[in-house]
Amino acid sequence: MVAAPSPMGAPDASGRFGSFGGRFVPESLVPACMELETAFSEAWADAAFRARLSSLLASYAGRPTPITECPRLSAELGLDIVLKREDLAHTGSHKINNVLGQALLAERMGKRRLIAETGAGQHGVATATAAAYFGMQCAVFMGEVDVERQALNVFRMQLLGATVHPVRSGSRTLKDAVNEALRDWVASVETTHYCIGSVMGPHPYPFLVRELQRVVGDEAREQYRERYEGADPDVVVACVGGGSNAAGTFAGFAETAARLVGVEAAGGSAVGHGVPGIVHGMRSLFLQDEEGQVLEAESISAGLDYPGIGPEHAHLAELGRASYEAVGDAEVLAAFQVLARTEGILPALEPAHALAWVIRAARDKTLAPGTKVLLTMSGRGDKDVAQVKEMLA
């Protein structure tokens, strides 16, 4: 008997998860995407590459990150909540897992310049960090709106030696930062690696980034089983913009019985309100009008302010293996404060979305009392404190 294929296996030869994914890029970039596909597949099968990455993740990024029980929050909600602590990784979020892997790949391909898009600045900071560590050049594209609301992260990137390019086109947020990074790459592809920050873009990026992030889910599953005598959580929750921390987390639990829940910002809910389209190199779900013009997402969280979603999430939603929920800004602000007050942890606004859904689901009994929840705390909230202060004033 042949085992059922994993719901999170490799994409097909055209880079598709079901009907989503693919490689819709200008001809100039096609050879580079093919080169990256080959380089990744060789590197991922190369024990020496894997060992070098593991060693960097341990000695430089601080892996494994712990899981943390939340007794006071659990008591308040009547659930059993455990956090996977990506906020404790170097640079303050899960983004470091991806950039260390991609910087190693860039080195392997002989490319000495990294470019990146960033929303909240977490991926930009992580890319600038990897560039500094490997002695590479780095340019980060960031929407002008985000440059303003994440000024501290802009300064961090500059301290790390990166050039930050404010993007003034379109909605001046993450979507436009991706456009501008693609435009740079079209011109610089021979010397530059585009270090995409999420499970999005043309093949092989959605697969490559998920594989580099699956360390989150694989660790969490083992840690959880060790702590709970071999049991898995009932529900695994993560926030979704492009969806890299969710993809990495889900990859570790796709073959367990755990229910998988991705939480989007209500103003950027591609699964809730998007339709299939082709943007940023991939076929996926996007907020768009009836003509196909991409709509602007609206969220307090710069990291989730994206009108699309990674293609594998679109596929998981279609399969029904994961469900996707949306929460509004007010719930997120409340969740931010609840976690700070009950557990002494300031979450980034992005994972505060995941918590906001858990709080709502506890109150309306979507989650039965005593449900065991694992939530990926994808980043820490230091970057958001000034913004939250303003919003609460």
């Binding site: 055209s14 819709f24 200008p26 001809e27 011109a187 299939p276 196909g292 013009q293 991409v294």
Partner: protein
């Protein structure tokens, strides 16, 4: 009108209206000039299309503006944004093209999402109904182009393929084989926009394209003025002029100014 000619691999290959026109002009010893204008940009954009035809364009590229044009530099981004703000939609641009009633073959240039949203079959039919001869889709590479090309072929719409400086030779031949209308040689690594100097890569890609195909080879991206156009046409069959024209339109050139600029290029290429 279409002509069936034998081709190396395919049993028959339909030569469409744009390709026929370009081949005929080339056979007559003329260098090919294809200006680009953003559809829906300003109230007089259809008059601009007519003026380009009168000024001696061999084909006209009309952009259907898209919210996220990743292959375009600042000028065409600004033009697209302005056209969208002024209410341009795929439908309004196509009805503008239909109303222009020019004999010069028209190719639409846009991004694939606008086609995918409508559906390949429906959009191919709408293009044909509007009198459009060809389509240029810079974010639809060869590997993804199959479903669209099948519908476009069936509707008689020529799909122009793009070749880049990074395209390996073997792939270049496959692009030329799938390409209809002309082979669009991207003159440099970069997005659309004017450059003060002609990139060396423009001549190199033109030469490489000419070696693998008998299709007309036109160089676009970074071709900014008459002297650059003339230099490229030493090797290529012609040029696409986009940002240099659109910048003038954004600055208020109007149909007269746009026509004068293209007439000047026409004259330079003809002498």
């Amino acid at each position: 009108m279409s002509v069936q000619v034998p081709h190396n691999d395919a049993p028959v290959r339909t030569v469409g209206r744009l390709e026929s026109a370009l081949r005929a002009q080339r056979a007559a010893g003329r260098k090919l000039l294809v200006p680009y204008v953003t559809g829906g940009l300003g109230a007089d954009w259809v008059d601009i299309v007519r003026a380009l035809a009168v000024a001696g364009a061999d084909g006209i590229e009309v952009g259907i503006p898209f919210s996220d044009p990743v292959m375009d530099g600042e000028v065409i981004q600004a033009a697209s944004q302005r056209a969208l703000t002024q209410g341009a939609t795929p439908r309004s641009v196509l009805s503008g093209i239909a109303s222009a009633e020019v004999d010069t073959p028209i190719a639409v240039m846009t991004y694939y999402n606008l086609i995918a949203r409508a559906g390949d079959k429906r959009m191919a039919a709408e293009l044909a109904r509007s009198g459009v001869a060809a389509a240029i889709l810079p974010d639809l590479p060869l590997e993804e182009a199959g479903p669209w090309c099948a519908e476009a072929d069936a509707a008689g719409i020529e799909t122009v393929m793009l070749a880049a400086p990074t395209t390996p030779d073997a792939r270049l031949a496959r692009l030329a084989e799938r390409g209809r209308g002309f082979l669009y040689a991207v003159g440099l690594l970069g997005v659309t926009g004017e450059r003060s100097q002609l990139a060396e890569s423009a001549l190199a890609i033109a030469r490489r394209c000419k070696q693998v195909t008998d299709l007309p080879v036109l160089v676009g991206v970074g071709v900014s003025n008459a002297s650059q156009a003339k230099a490229i046409c030493e090797v290529a069959d012609g040029v696409v002029i986009g940002s240099a024209l659109v910048r003038r339109i954004l600055e208020g050139a109007g149909p007269d100014g746009a026509g004068e600029f293209i007439a000047e290029l026409r004259q330079a290429l003809d002498t």
